[in-house]
């Protein structure tokens, strides 16, 4: 049973990490709680489905078009919906919830409530420690690692990354230093949603595509970023693995309570909030001011 937990937790943690990192990035830098983050993930999955399954495009062009299209849409949404109310956190929260619901209803209208499947990019699988793992799930792990490396490179090895980090440290000072903070925020939104779109393209083939597919990962993702620390990329990665393992342990230790795995993840989130509000690797709220 131990090897099952080790392998299953790692693979599922990789899936969660791919989603949580983008969400954490946009909060950490732009202080935008983008509830529509997983809705963009859902849009990318639908776009990929339409292009690959209905349109007959190959994996690479379908994935590239999906990621670019959803990223451009996010920039448009930022300019039209988020930017005008950005100073008001509650308004941003409500605006992004509204965006997510609009996307959901649009997909429901366009594709109906049908559950759609996307063929795996990689067929087959291997056995590790006696546990069967499809190649598609390994691909997710590889892509998650690559995305994290790319995000790290952008943040720490480019001028844009320097500007993003400066803005994250102190928005007002960055503004006074002549940085275009609005444009940097927009670039961050684009980078963050691009990560969600990549997740949609890579993760959707192992799940089911439907208009409500953004809700369950949203809850899990919130648990992860709170656990890891809002805005901390490292925290998101470790939080994703922790939640992945907690879920695996719940299912293996308590089979009849498998439905509780989400609740256990949320209970951990609440517990962490009570004991350490800033999360495992987050910046304490007092220090931010």
């Amino acid at each position: 049973m131990l090897q099952d937990i080790l392998v299953t937790g790692l693979v599922n943690g990789g899936v969660y990490a791919l989603l949580a990192v983008g969400f954490s990035l946009i909060f950490g830098v732009a202080r935008i709680v983008n509830i529509a983050h997983t809705a963009f993930y859902m849009l990318a999955a639908y776009c990929f489905y339409a292009l690959q399954v209905k349109g007959g495009l190959g994996f690479v062009p379908a994935a590239a078009i999906s990621v670019v299209a959803v990223t451009l849409l996010s920039v448009l949404c930022y300019r039209l919906v988020i930017e005008p109310v950005r100073e008001h956190e509650a308004a941003v929260l409500i605006a992004t919830i509204a965006l997510a619901l609009i996307f959901q209803e649009l997909m429901l209208f366009s594709f109906g409530g049908h559950y759609l499947g996307i063929p795996s990019t990689l067929e087959g699988g291997i056995r590790v420690l006696g546990v069967s793992i499809p190649y598609q799930r390994l691909l997710i792990l590889v892509v998650a690692a690559a995305m994290l490396a790319i995000v790290w490179f952008v943040l720490y090895r480019t001028r844009l990354g320097l500007a993003i980090r400066a803005t994250a440290n102190d928005l007002e000072v960055a503004n006074l230093m002549g940085m275009n903070v609005q444009r940097i925020a927009m670039a961050t939104v684009a980078l963050s949603v691009a990560l969600a779109a990549v997740a949609g393209v890579v993760v959707a083939p192992v799940f089911v595509v439907d208009p409500f597919m953004w809700l369950a990962p949203l809850v899990t993702m919130l648990a992860i970023v709170v656990l890891g620390g809002l805005g901390s990329m490292k925290g998101s990665l470790i939080g994703a693995l922790v939640i992945g393992y907690v879920e695996a342990i719940t299912v293996f230790a308590l089979p009849a309570g498998a439905y509780l795995k989400g609740a256990v993840a949320l209970a951990i989130m609440v517990a962490v909030l009570l004991v350490r509000p800033e999360g495992l690797f987050g910046v304490a709220f007092e220090e931010e001011r």
Partner: protein
């Protein structure tokens, strides 16, 4: 008081519609989803067939059927369902109500229909309470009849009958006396009695229950559950799934190359789109079902073929709205009236050879369960096709297959 005034107004207006020679039947279902699509499609077929033949004869006068589309959105919202049924009664002046899918929503809609004393023919919900209401308070609930499926307790009877058949095949093919069964049931009210029954009955059927796994109905990832089931050495995965988790189970069992075979209720597995949704991985997944090209009755095969020709896909059990309208037609023509109170005793005594089975009703206005009549059929996905395999004595059934070991 307001409800009484509305009832009088609705009755007066629906009488006016009847005088104009049109019978208004509201089809209630989640129209953006497969269930509602099938509700509507089955009803359209019945309407067109009846209207083409001149309509329903009431004492020498012929009345055409007009369908009202009532989108209940009940998968997402129960209040939407009660609003929809209220609307079709009061605004659209429906004479009869047919449909419903989600038990919680149908229980709520049943109350509204009974308030207005409208005949409501259920075509989707299995919860026993719907029929129990009729038994406990006949005067109020007598206008309710369940056309499809059989009630949840009877669904269990079918499940165990098929399970016994699969168990015998496993004993013969795998040379094992006690097949191992893993219970995989979504956490929902409707599965509680089934899980308890399985835990009690399977050992009596000389089968070993290796464990019970209960994911959420909305789960999209069951790799941990399947990994544990794989490790348990189960021969059969007894599924009780109504949500999208059924697709995840089918797909991920295939991706993992599991040797166990899935049998049970998998509502998603009943749909024509299941194979595509599971990305072609759901080989040998089997489920309880209603329609296939087998001779359940002389009407089954012609109906299924006509449905496929018209809608380019096979019907699901919700398409038995066709049978509901035909039952209504028979009752109206026999009673020579559309008055609900006079139709109820006629429907209670009816024996209707429909497309989904041969229907008779008990004192709860539930279908009387019988293999080959109302118990339904079992189907298995084989190479992208839904193949019927039970009951074996029905013409058109094919062999049940197991994964290679």
């Amino acid at each position: 008081m307001i409800r009484s005034a509305m009832l009088c107004a609705a009755l007066a207006l629906s009488s006016a519609a009847l005088a104009q020679g049109t019978l208004k039947i509201a089809i209630l279902g989640p129209m953006a989803f497969v269930q509602g699509e099938n509700h509507w499609a089955g009803a359209e077929m019945a309407r067109d067939e009846i209207n083409k033949a001149g309509g329903i004869s009431i004492g020498g006068k012929r009345m055409q059927i007009e369908l009202i589309r009532g989108d209940t959105n009940e998968i997402q919202s129960v209040p939407d369902a009660t609003n929809a049924i209220e609307r079709v009664i009061t605004r659209d002046k429906a004479d009869f109500l047919i449909g419903g899918f989600r038990s919680e929503a149908v229980l709520a809609m049943q109350e509204v229909a009974m308030d207005y004393k409208k005949i409501f023919l259920g075509a989707g919900a299995a919860h026993s309470k719907l029929g129990l209401n009729v038994e406990q308070n006949y005067d109020r609930y007598k206008y309710w009849f369940r056309i499809t499926p059989v009630k949840d307790v009877d669904l269990a009877r079918t499940l165990f009958a098929v399970m016994n058949s699969i168990g015998q095949q496993i004993r013969a093919e795998l040379k094992t006396d006690t097949p191992k069964v893993a219970l995989l049931a979504e956490k929902a009210v409707w599965t509680e009695a089934l899980v308890a029954a399985a835990q009690k009955n399977l050992p009596a059927m000389k089968m070993e229950v290796v464990g019970t796994w209960q994911p959420s109905a909305t789960a999209t990832d069951v790799t941990a559950e399947l990994s544990a089931i794989d490790r348990s050495g189960a021969h059969i995965v007894f599924t009780m799934l109504s949500g999208p988790v059924g697709i995840s189970v089918g797909r991920q069992m295939g991706e993992r190359g599991m040797k166990a075979v899935a049998w049970g209720i998998n509502v998603e597995g009943q749909k024509e789109e299941f194979w595509q949704a599971a990305a072609g991985k759901a080989q040998f997944v089997s489920t309880l079902d209603t329609y296939a090209e087998v001779e359940m009755t002389p009407k089954t095969i012609p109906f299924v073929r006509a449905f496929k020709a018209r809608f380019k896909k096979a019907p699901t059990y919700n398409a038995a709205t066709y049978d509901a309208i035909m039952i209504l037609k028979s009752a109206i023509e026999e009673a020579r009236t559309t008055e609900a109170d006079k139709l109820v005793p006629v429907i209670e005594k009816i024996e209707h050879v429909g497309t989904a089975g041969t229907d008779t009703f008990d004192k709860r206005h539930d279908l009387v369960w019988a293999v080959g009549k109302t118990a339904g059929i079992a189907v298995q996905w084989q190479d992208g096709k839904k193949v019927p395999f039970w009951p074996p004595n029905i013409k058109g059934m094919q062999p049940f297959k197991m994964p290679a070991r």
